[in-house]
């Protein structure tokens, strides 16, 4: 398949999965906090287009897109949301603790900045230049306010580790806007150079731009050039946690929301593909049907799967010796 078409399909798949979870969330069977990434599909897809299954990916609380774009199992993710034994964390973690080692998606965790240093340490080596594996860690703008973000950047730079720090700046930490949290006229990408880390700020809703910028950073890391910090501007369409819209809370305006809705990463890319004759209504429909089938079967699998046996409550507190 055409590479651009693959990008499109991957974004659409994330979108449709999130929409299905949102639709079914009110059934009250997925009983865990869930952070949706509707509107933010371009960043993980653009970044992952350069990643091998042996590369590592880490994420925070809003991780479904990162997991799926890296090739994480959909069945295992949906099952995890349903708290089932077949879930990717055997029902011990929920939406906030995704993991698929076969796909190289190592971990997501919801404490802000928590996985950033872990991503750094996981590509530390006592022997230099033995691998061209890279480690990507996604986080939001809020995480850059945590000390641990700066600590991780500092060490990655000292050791020139192959880490791509990917900030998805969606302008809000829960309901607190960027301007009450960070200095005016300073971008997150401005922080990297203080740690001697090459940094770029770009449009996170343009998957081709993401792909290009991420490609440069990933290639540099593979070649031993050390870490990069990428700040991608994007926007979350739904509430901080949960499947609903939240304009009624009035922490952001309808005008702002409408502006970002008009910059929908999938719409923008789709229009381009139509113009280039890479995609037409019919092929789009076929892609959609294929994804829908996969999603339905994943939900069916998850719903049919058993819950963990209560007798296993204490399992995995300690490693069995």
């Amino acid at each position: 398949m055409d590479n651009l078409l693959k990008l499109f399909e991957s974004m659409l798949r994330i979108r449709m999965v999130e929409e299905m979870i949102a639709e079914r969330y009110s059934e009250q069977e997925m009983r865990c906090p869930t952070h949706f990434c509707l509107g933010q599909e371009a960043v993980p897809v653009g970044v992952s287009s350069h990643l091998r299954h042996t590369d590592y990916v880490y994420s925070g609380h809003r991780s479904h897109g990162h997991y799926l774009a890296k090739g994480g199992s959909l069945k295992a993710m949906v099952s995890e949301l349903y708290g089932k034994e077949t879930g990717c964390a055997l029902g011990r973690g929920g939406s906030q603790h995704l993991n698929d080692l076969d796909a190289g998606f190592i971990a997501s965790a919801p404490i802000l900045g928590g996985t950033i240093p872990i991503a750094v340490g996981s590509v530390y080596s006592t022997k230099s230049n033995v691998t061209d594996k890279v480690s990507v860690v996604y986080f939001g703008d809020g995480a850059t306010e945590e000390g641990i973000f700066h600590e991780a950047l500092n060490f990655a730079s000292v050791k020139k580790l192959p880490v791509i720090f990917v900030c998805e700046n969606n302008l809000y930490s829960v309901h607190s806007s960027f301007d009450v949290r960070q200095p005016k006229d300073r971008n997150i990408a401005d922080i990297g150079p203080a740690h001697k880390i090459p940094s770029v700020r770009a449009n996170g809703n343009d998957v081709e731009e993401v792909m290009k910028i991420a490609g440069d950073a990933i290639n540099r890391a593979r070649d031993g050039g050390g870490p990069s910090l990428l700040e991608f501007m994007t926007y979350r369409w739904l509430e901080h946690c949960g499947p609903n819209k939240d304009l009624d809370l009035s922490y952001r305006t309808k005008e702002e929301m409408d502006e970002w809705l008009s910059k929908c990463p999938i719409k923008l890319f789709e229009t381009k593909l139509y113009k280039k004759n890479i995609l037409n209504k019919e092929s789009r429909f076929r892609i959609e049907q294929k994804i829908l089938k996969e999603i339905n079967s994943a939900f069916e699998y998850a719903k049919k799967s058993p819950f963990p046996d209560p007798q296993t409550l204490f399992d995995y507190t300690y490693v069995k010796s």
Partner: protein, 351 residues
């Protein structure tokens, strides 16, 4: 039998574990430095190189996460905090990530890490340099928490901890570092879930942790001269807790003193006494006593510290209370040291 000091036993364990397994890494501020964490890591960098004996930025939190990340790359990191107080800067990574790492991904991830935390007292270490936070960590499911007292255990427990696939926290008391003990040269492991009966007796059980074991032995020696035979148990492992060994002893003696290095309130002694009561509420014939730090921050002045940190005398007083004995035992034997903020008169500060 060869005798070496506690700090030398730790050094030997580090060296032998790194020889045995290339994936063992040590990191911490000052680890490869000239004093090498009170001698315990001195010179290891020359033998194993800077990539395995790492100095680190003053970023306790970030570096704990980095060390956890290293386990994904196959390493077994040992992280050292020269004072347990510094680890409070790493609490998110330790408590939210490391402790739960195996559990929250359904057993797919492991965190084979060791944290060496140094605790202590005296020489005016004060509020932020002499806490004894073992109860904090014991409260978090996922950590194993050890407090080796003897040089033998310092070596064997560190070797066992490094081989363990779960995260293990080892508390080392600064006042134990210069104490001699019999330590075999070859590597050996120590069971991480058993208390040790150090001194047999029938009259009263004294359970102690870390440095307080030495004070308990001192107390026991004095009491023995007066015909009282205490049984002294070195707890060694806080998690898992070997309650059966304690129960067996208390069943025999009917009386109990627990002496811990930490704050009494909500501490290790409370857990031990509660568990005994849950097992058998009639096991104690007398009201038990708890010895530990009073409920205020560690003071600096020697005059206040003397009252703050318990010693053998405090244990003797408790035993006298419980067994209704003449407290003159204490005044006869006396405690003749002028200063109480050093382990013995040969010790000079600062440290």
């Amino acid at each position: 039998m060869r005798k070496i000091k506690y700090f030398q036993a730790i050094h030997e364990a580090h060296s032998q574990s790194m020889e045995a397994d290339d994936n063992v890494i040590i990191l911490g501020l000052g680890v490869p430095g000239p004093t090498g964490i009170f001698g315990t890591t001195k010179g290891l960098v020359d033998k194993f190189g800077e990539a395995r004996v790492l100095d680190m930025p003053s970023s306790e939190q970030g570096m704990t996460g980095v060390a956890l990340g290293m386990t994904i790359a196959g390493y077994r990191p040992v992280m050292i905090h020269m004072r347990v107080d510094f680890s409070t800067l790493a609490m998110d990574q330790m408590v939210n990530q490391v402790a739960k790492w195996h559990f929250m991904y359904g057993g797919k991830m492991k965190a084979p890490m060791v944290f060496r935390m140094i605790i202590g007292r005296g020489w005016g270490q004060g509020p932020q340099h002499s806490q004894s936070l073992q109860a904090w960590f014991a409260h978090i499911p996922g950590f194993k928490v050890l407090m080796p007292t003897t040089a033998y255990d310092a070596k064997g427990m560190l070797l066992s901890a490094i081989k363990d696939d779960s995260p293990v926290i080892i508390f080392e008391h600064r006042w134990l570092y210069n104490v001699d003990g019999i330590v075999p040269k070859d590597p050996y492991e120590v069971n991480l879930n058993s208390a040790r009966v150090l001194h047999k007796g029938d009259d009263i059980t004294i359970v102690a942790t870390s440095y307080m074991v030495l004070e308990a032995l001192k107390a026991s020696e004095i009491l023995s001269k007066h015909g009282i035979k205490p049984e002294v148990i070195d707890l060694r492992s806080i998690v898992p807790l070997d309650i059966d060994t304690i129960y067996k002893s208390v069943k025999k003696t009917g009386s109990l003193v627990v002496a811990d290095t930490g704050t009494i309130n909500f501490g290790i002694s409370a857990e031990i006494i509660s568990r005994l009561m849950e097992m058998d509420h009639s096991v104690l014939r007398n009201i038990p006593k708890r010895i530990g730090l009073p409920f205020c921050p560690s003071p600096t002045s020697p005059s206040l510290a003397e009252k703050f940190f318990p010693r053998a005398n405090d244990i003797i007083l408790c035993v006298c209370d419980i067994l209704d004995l003449d407290k003159n035992i204490l005044s006869k034997e006396g405690d003749k040291e002028q200063w109480h903020d050093v382990p013995d008169s040969s010790f000079t500060g600062p440290y």
